[in-house]
């Protein structure tokens, strides 16, 4: 951006020089020492643009594409006109009407949805991390019959997401609710159990790779000191792999809190629904009338997830690339 200022006309360098360097630049060599000095003092716009400026141009364009929808929903949330049309003039007015409306409609228990999502998401992701870590510990530190088959089957199983079996899950839970209503259709506990079915498939392999990077000699040393397997697991391994635990926990929290298909089938009562199901049903019928309130709900729903994500960003990126490079 400082380039555009220097690029308009730079009074210190002669105009002729500028032309020379811009046209003759791309191959390396032919610039004189004087030219180089001049460039070092203030580089001409063309050179700067070819080297870096276009990168900024791309960056700004893509950034606009990336954040525009977010700005749009933010603006709609603070605009109590409330309709889709009224939300088109971005940030034309700012007030909290939508937010108060959001929490004061008994037919739309937004606060409940929010709490439900947090509960289901937190419990599921904590349990997922724990189950996955236990399995990864077994695969990484023990040798047993069926270990290889087990690892391979996990790799295979993660190809098939649970939502493919949504019909069977629905029928299974409706069968369960005839015997034990607390675990069947309409119960969050039942939904959490269903989600835990996917706990091993996706995460064990990622964690397994990471567990292998923790040197075995640490275990050995602890064993000499007479540590039991649980002490090694909780006291040594779990502490050293915290980054991957955070990544798996966060990714599964994000995944679960946005899961719609199974949640919409299992949670039928509005009071027990999660944000994904509730907000969808709220906006599905009358999209344009309820827009402002929906936007307010969307902002509140997105803020915790995005904050967590940005806060743990470094871990996530390393987790993603490690998952890829190590496979």
């Amino acid at each position: 951006m400082n380039g555009s200022a220097s690029g308009t006309v730079s009074p210190t360098t002669a105009p002729a020089d500028v032309d020379d360097t811009t046209t003759g630049h791309s191959a390396t060599g032919h610039t004189t020492v004087q030219d180089l000095k001049a460039m070092a003092r203030r580089r001409p716009f063309g050179v700067w643009f070819k080297d870096k400026g276009w990168r900024h141009l791309v960056g700004i364009t893509v950034t606009l594409f990336a954040i525009f929808p977010l700005l749009y929903v933010l603006s709609a949330a603070f605009n109590s006109t409330g309709t889709l049309v009224g939300s088109n003039a971005l940030f034309s007015r700012i007030d909290f009407g939508n937010f108060t409306a959001l929490f004061n409609d008994p037919s739309r228990p937004y606060a409940r949805w929010f709490v439900n999502t947090m509960v289901v998401g937190t419990v599921t992701s904590a349990a997922t991390v724990f189950l996955g870590a236990m399995a990864a510990y077994a695969f990484s530190r023990m040798r047993f019959k069926g270990r290889r088959i087990g690892l391979l089957s996990l790799l295979l199983l993660q190809m098939f997401p649970q939502l493919l079996a949504v019909v069977a899950i629905f029928l299974l839970l409706s069968g369960i609710s005839e015997v034990i209503p607390a675990l069947g259709l309409g119960s969050q506990l039942g939904l959490i159990m269903v989600y835990l079915g996917g706990a091993l498939g996706v995460n064990t392999y990622l964690m397994y790779g990471f567990f292998n990077t923790v040197p075995q000699s640490l275990d050995e040393a602890a064993k000499i000191d007479g540590a039991s397997h649980t002490q090694i697991f909780f006291g040594i391994i779990m502490r050293l792999v915290t980054p991957i635990l955070a990544v798996v926990g966060l990714l599964s929290f994000i995944g679960i809190s946005g899961e719609f298909v199974i949640a919409s089938v299992v949670l039928t009562d509005p009071d027990s629904q999660t944000l994904a199901v509730g907000l969808y049903s709220f906006v599905a019928q009358q999209r344009s009338e309820n827009w402002g309130v929906f936007a307010a709900g969307a902002v509140i729903a997105a803020v915790p997830v995005m904050a967590l994500f940005l806060f743990l960003q470094r871990y996530i990126v390393s987790g993603l690339t490690q998952g890829s490079v190590k496979g």
């Binding site: 929808p69 749009y72 929903v73 189950l131 077994a138 047993f144 939502l163 949504v166 719609f260």
Partner: protein, 552 residues
């Protein structure tokens, strides 16, 4: 290898050591066989925790088993008992350490991933769905209950609605003044001491509360559903009220003949027979709406590809599913990679800010993205048409072609940050010497990219591209939230549209509003997805193995 073996492996046993080697080599690079040291003894704290946890699990298990016993589900009871025994055996015996760590996760995996998949496979071969969701006996009872007609010339009863213990009762006064009480569960019982009003209609019984008009209106649904059997034989019919003050005797319009297994219409004499397809059908093809669940073999699959209202749209959906998944991967990868190359410069100002702003879409919950974009792209009121294009009425979500493009653009918005992150990581791990060596040999930047960087990148990224394909193949949220699968195809009366992918179709067929639920067909479609994803992954993973061999 079990725990006891682990212990033995610590002692000289060389034979055991060699036996472990191939096993150990499977998961990670082979390394010399080490003598394994045994774990220390369990701590008291650990043992107590184990006993408490196992106790809780067993307490829960006993409750579940009792409930299963009371509901007489013997099959489930047997399986659950076996599972409970297995859990106790795993945690109480001395060895078998790996099983102790694997059991909880594997249990959930087996029930809610493996079992449900096999269950889907079973449902795909049945006619399970609306009108076919129970056994034949249930269906017969349901038909007898629902197919009711007023008995011609039967007397009109006066009725009152009473309540006791949260259930409703009907109090009838027949034209002769005889009073009787009952509800669906309790057969008719004569009452001699009922209180009556001025018209002689009985309206009060000791121990029951009489509902007033407002209460009757408020509980209309449950009162309409009360059917008081006149006698023990269902064929005698029932007493029902339509308004809470008059009641009539209704009789089944269809009578069931046990010996012949047929229903006969009492008026027309039409005979409905078991048609072998889980329903009673007349000779002219009419079927009774309530049927039962039977195995239909391959019929769901056959129907998917032959039924004229399904075949065309389904082929379109399959084609679009592939197009959508491939195009999504290609577009996000192309954009992510170009961005990664663009910003792969140490000395670029504001790099960090660009990066954070660009990954925001990835952090934004995916189901919300679809809904937010659906507002932006709304043809009538959306920002794009109204503000950016000054009041245009372009059907971004209602024109089949434009809707497909919109879906792809939105999915690009959602997906490029991930590819950007992954490609940046992969680019930075590439050795720079190769790059320099190629430049020394006179390769231009494009040549360096195409012949050196891209092939190397693909080795580490290819598995991710495949999982990305598998993910987008079932990317339910973006489609369902953005277009709901629409715009609908004109050539079918089913709810199938131009942007529907297979998984949204499965959802709509199984749980769609308005159209009947057809679990059998939905499961058959899900099985088709299974087969496609499995085939594609198998082939492409083989390909990437080849790629790896070529490069290394």
């Amino acid at each position: 290898m079990t725990d006891t073996e682990l212990r033995q492996a610590g002692t000289p046993a060389a034979a055991k050591g060699t036996a472990t080697a191939p096993d150990g080599a499977a998961g990670r690079p082979a390394r010399p066989v080490k003598r394994r040291r045994r774990f220390g003894p369990d701590t008291t704290k650990g043992t107590v925790a184990k006993i408490v946890l196992l106790g809780l699990v067993d307490a829960l298990a006993v409750y579940v088993l009792m409930m299963l016993f009371l509901s007489e589900s013997w099959g489930a009871l047997a399986v659950s008992s076996a599972v409970v025994l297995a859990i106790n055996w795993i945690y109480l015996r001395k060895g078998g350490l790996p099983a102790k760590y694997l059991a909880p996760g594997v249990l959930f995996l087996l029930v809610f991933q493996v079992f449900v998949v096999m269950f889907s496979g079973y449902i795909a071969f049945t006619n399970y769905g609306d009108g076919h969701n129970s056994t034949k006996n249930d269906a017969i009872a349901a038909i007898q209950l629902t197919a009711q007609k007023r008995v011609p010339d039967s007397p009109a009863y006066k009725a009152a609605v009473l309540a006791k213990d949260n259930s409703f009762y009907l109090l009838f006064t027949d034209p002769d003044g005889k009073v009787s009480l009952g509800n669906t569960e309790t057969p008719l019982e004569e009452i001699s001491d009922a209180g009556t009003d001025s018209t002689g209609k009985a309206n009060a019984v000791d121990g029951y509360r009489t509902l007033n008009f407002q209460e009757i209106v408020a509980n209309q649904q449950s009162i309409l559903a009360i059917m008081v059997p006149v006698s023990d034989d269902p064929a005698d019919g029932t007493l029902r009220t339509a308004d809470g003050s008059n009641a009539y005797q209704f009789k089944p319009a269809l009578t069931y003949d046990d010996a012949a297994d047929t229903f006969t219409d009492t008026e027309t004499g039409t005979v409905y027979q078991d048609n072998g397809k889980g329903a009673f059908a007349a000779s002219n093809g009419d079927t009774l709406t309530t049927g039962w669940k039977i195995d239909v073999g391959m019929e769901n699959f056959v129907r998917a590809f032959t039924d004229p209202s399904l075949r065309g749209p389904l082929l379109g959906v399959i084609l679009w599913t592939f197009t959508f998944a491939i195009a999504s991967v290609a577009l996000t990868f192309a954009m992510g990679l170009s961005l990664a190359m663009t910003f792969n410069r140490e000395d670029l100002r504001g790099k960090k800010i660009y990066r954070i702003l660009m990954i925001l879409p990835y952090a934004f919950p995916a189901f919300l993205s679809g809904l937010v974009w659906s507002g932006i792209l709304n043809p009538q009121f959306g920002w794009l048409n109204q503000t950016l294009l000054g009041g245009a009425t372009i059907g971004w979500l209602t024109d089949p072609i434009l809707a497909k493009i919109s879906v792809l653009v939105v999915n690009l918005w959602l997906g490029f940050p991930y590819m950007f992150l992954v490609c940046t990581g992969a680019l930075q791990s590439l050795p720079t010497e190769l790059d320099e060596a190629a430049r020394m040999d006179g390769a231009g930047p494009w040549r360096v990219f195409r012949s050196i960087k891209l092939p190397l990148l693909l080795v580490s990224i290819a598995p991710l591209l495949i999982s990305s394909f598998a993910f987008n193949f079932n990317n339910f949220n973006v489609i369902f939230m953005l277009t709901g699968g629409g715009p609908r195809f004109a050539d079918t009366d089913r709810d199938i549209g131009a942007t529907d992918i297979l998984i949204t179709l499965v959802y709509k067929v199984a749980f769609g509003q308005g159209t009947g639920r057809d679990y059998g067909l939905a499961s058959a479609l899900a099985i088709i997805i299974f087969i496609i994803v499995a085939t594609v992954s198998a082939i492409s993973f083989k390909q990437t193995k080849a790629l790896e061999d070529v490069n290394s």
